[in-house]
Amino acid sequence: VKFLKNRRSLPVYDWNASSPLCCSSWWAGVQMGPPDPILGVTEAFKRDTNPKKMNLGVGAYRDDQGKPFVLDCVRKAEALISSKQLDKEYLAIGGLGDFTKSCAQLALGADSEVLKSGRNITVQTISGTGSLRIGANFLSRFHSASRDVYLPTPSWGNHTPIFRDAGMQLKAYRYYDPSTCGFDFKGTLDDISKMPERSVILLHACAHNPTGVDPKPEQWKEIADLVKKRDLLVFFDMAYQGFASGDIDRDAWAVRHFIEQGHNIVLSQSFAKNMGLYGERVGGLTLVCKDAEEAKRVESQLKILIRPIYSNPPMNGARIAATILNTTELYNIWLEEVHCMANRIIKMREQLAANLKSEGSTHNWEHVTDQIGMFCFTGLKPDQVERLTKEFSVYMTKDGRISMAGVTSGNVGYLAHGIHAVTK
């Protein structure tokens, strides 16, 4: 083979020359992936030129001007951090200790027996998705008793592909009752009673996504009992602590109740919404173990799972969250701001329901105010959703879910008008 010497510049490859590589690509067989159902909504919204357009697709909080909201406690935490001039050395595989400790405390409560006995292992993860994924990987590798994960119907769209990709089998349990736009308590209990022992059941801790329908505390108690009887492994997904009721402890009630009842749960937490840290990817994964010794073994295996994915987690968001959680003044500001965000959502729900009434709608819109958290399952059918989008430039997912965070006092009237128009 001849090698050119003394070349001054590298030759440009000639695709037309006869060569084993010129004719086809390695990727000729790669199909075009379907657009993401949620993010595809935002793409379409961006292309729309209607000045009245509304993006009620993705679940990111917006203020009453429809703008992204950076929390004051976050800005203050950032200023504090900036003044410390910290280095950028790798975090441990399990993440920032200050963060994981306070993250667990936030979910479990400062006086939790679990924390005192050190029988939890909490690792920092890439927000909620990363937490679910590592948890799923862990179950896939170590929960040999069952491959089955039961998701509520419906659930967050990304739950299914995450667990499937991790090698678990997806099953479903009844949850949402379309006829009432509320909780199908009987259906849930019925389905749980039939789940094979040791199966994994995924529960939304609060502010169910996409329906906004949460069990009442009394209902949670019955669910906890039945789940214990069936000897199921509980996996809580808590992405909205603080966002549902505005109260951190109230929103964590179900999680804490299950633990008190003796369930050794798996718990995913996200700080994307409640701290507005979306793009910083801040989350936690907690496994409540039998004792501290078991927690150590589990921790060692979590590290083995994490290392070949991303080695160790990103610092910035965790540092911000830890600073807020561990600085009294900032923590108090945060509680207020979460409360405010939740309240604005609640107010928008009330205004939407009121506006629908004054539009003259005869439908029952109680679910709009009964449902809780960022999302509202309107009950709109796909063809009605399509009309709402085409005729009114209101963008939402096909299942009729709207993000209340995208509703403002400036556009709630328009939204009510549109919904009434397509449902009357």
């Binding site: 590298l10 084993p20 086809s24 990727w27 790798y90 929960h143 990304n158 039998k290």
Partner: protein, 411 residues
């Protein structure tokens, strides 16, 4: 009740982090950490690049910035400028619109996403049996990344010749010739980890020739661009040469070392495809993989790098910072070699200055390594790999003398 996790065994800790852990717990005031690959100043301190500090201030002061989700594939201005760093501003492949990228969590994340894609879409769908070749030796996490992505056959290719302390070219070429067609090869773009031994240009050309002829897949791991020679373009020679040879390939880039952004997890998987249409489909499938792994990547580090690379002044300042680091490493290499030769330590030590990048494969055997750790509180990897950045003008005499002792006293 039996615990669900009763059977979970205690896993052995990741070696490189254990070394740092043991170092931290050692009370010996003379201790030296030559383990984990992070840059240190001559004071033995971590170094936040001056340009990074500058840009951080800019970001913190900018009220128009928020913490919204990035797109699934990452920050567009980061992805494109990062790919340009690897491929060159004027890369024909970029001009032909057949280069794309996925912002990932560090170099590890880029390898992971690339590996997951290959396992699903390369060489027939869902192909877990395609051999993946990693150099012998290689970064210890390469194996795990590909195994965890589902590849069943991860094998070594000959690379390091322990006897001559250099590249085993004929072994390397031989493994390329005998590898099953379509096998995947993980190549270190420069500053090979852990040996510090890179092929010469002519040797790279020979590698490329065999890979082209035998239809082997090129997966570059580029974690040290700029760090090897001090010059970004020089360090990217191999990657750019392969592109001129018409390869479709992946290049996993890390900005951990050359930007000192270790804990912000800034990485980029650069994809070079035959044409824009293939690229488009590949990126759409990359999105699916990212969505079930981390949904979208962290914004801080990528923003920082993008601002720097897209501003001529800051870019220039960054290149200077990189050269500062590379130069210090080079001076430590020269110094260590000189001292060992002055001590007349048995053996030859020119490999210390011939090797390139952060690491040196000293050639010390496990017993000698143990001696250094236990008797001298000098921490290094069992393979004999040392991180040159752990050396300073203040500790280099102690290290040289200790190495001398270990070679003389320990077989």
């Amino acid at each position: 009740i039996m615990s669900l996790f009763g059977e979970v065994p205690q896993a052995t800790p990741v070696a490189v982090f254990k070394v740092t852990n043991d170092f931290k717990e050692d009370p010996n005031p003379k201790k030296v950490n030559l383990g984990v690959g992070a840059y240190r100043t001559d004071e033995g301190q971590p170094w936040v690049l001056p340009v990074v500090k500058k840009v951080e201030k800019i970001i913190v002061a900018d009220d128009s910035l928020n913490h919204e989700y990035l797109p699934i594939l990452g920050l567009p201005e980061f992805r494109s400028s990062a790919s340009k760093i690897a491929l060159g501003e004027d890369s024909p492949a970029i001009q032909e619109n057949r280069v794309g990228a996925v912002q990932c969590l560090g170099g590890t994340g880029a390898l992971k996403i690339g590996a997951e894609f290959l396992r699903r879409w390369y060489n027939g769908n869902n192909n877990t049996r395609t051999p993946v070749y990693v150099s012998a030796p290689t970064w210890e996490n390469h194996n795990a990344v590909f195994v965890n992505a589902g590849f069943e056959d991860v094998r070594p290719y000959k690379y390091w010749d322990a006897e001559k302390r250099g590249l085993d070219l004929s072994g390397f070429l031989g493994d390329l010739e005998s590898a099953p067609k379509h096998s995947i090869f993980v190549l270190h773009a420069c500053a090979h980890n852990p040996t510090g031994t890179d092929p010469t240009h002519v040797e790279w050309m020979q590698v490329a020739e065999v890979m082209k002829r035998r239809k082997l897949f090129v997966f570059f791991d580029s974690a040290y661009q700029g760090f090897a020679s001090g010059c970004l373009d020089k360090d990217a020679w191999a990657v750019r040469y392969f592109i001129t040879q018409g390869f479709e390939m992946f290049c996993a880039q890390s900005f951990s070392k050359n930007f000192g952004l270790y804990n912000e997890r800034v990485g980029n998987l650069t994809i070079v495809a035959r044409d824009p249409d293939n690229l488009k489909r590949v990126l759409s499938q990359m999105e699916k993989i990212v969505r079930v792994t981390w949904s979208n990547p962290p914004s801080q580090g990528a923003r920082l790098v993008a601002v720097t690379l897209n501003n001529p002044e800051l870019f220039s300042e960054w290149k200077d910072n990189v050269k500062t680091m590379a130069d210090r490493v080079l001076s430590m290499r020269a110094s260590l070699r000189a001292k060992l030769e002055a001590l007349e330590t048995p053996g030859t030590w020119d490999h210390i200055t011939q090797q390139i990048g952060m690491f040196s494969f000293t050639g010390l055997n496990p017993n000698q390594v143990e001696y250094l750790i236990k008797e001298k509180s000098i921490y290094l990897m069992a393979s004999g790999r040392i991180n040159m950045c752990g050396l300073t003008t203040k500790n280099i005499d102690y290290v040289a003398e200790s190495i001398h002792e270990s070679v003389v006293n320990v077989q």
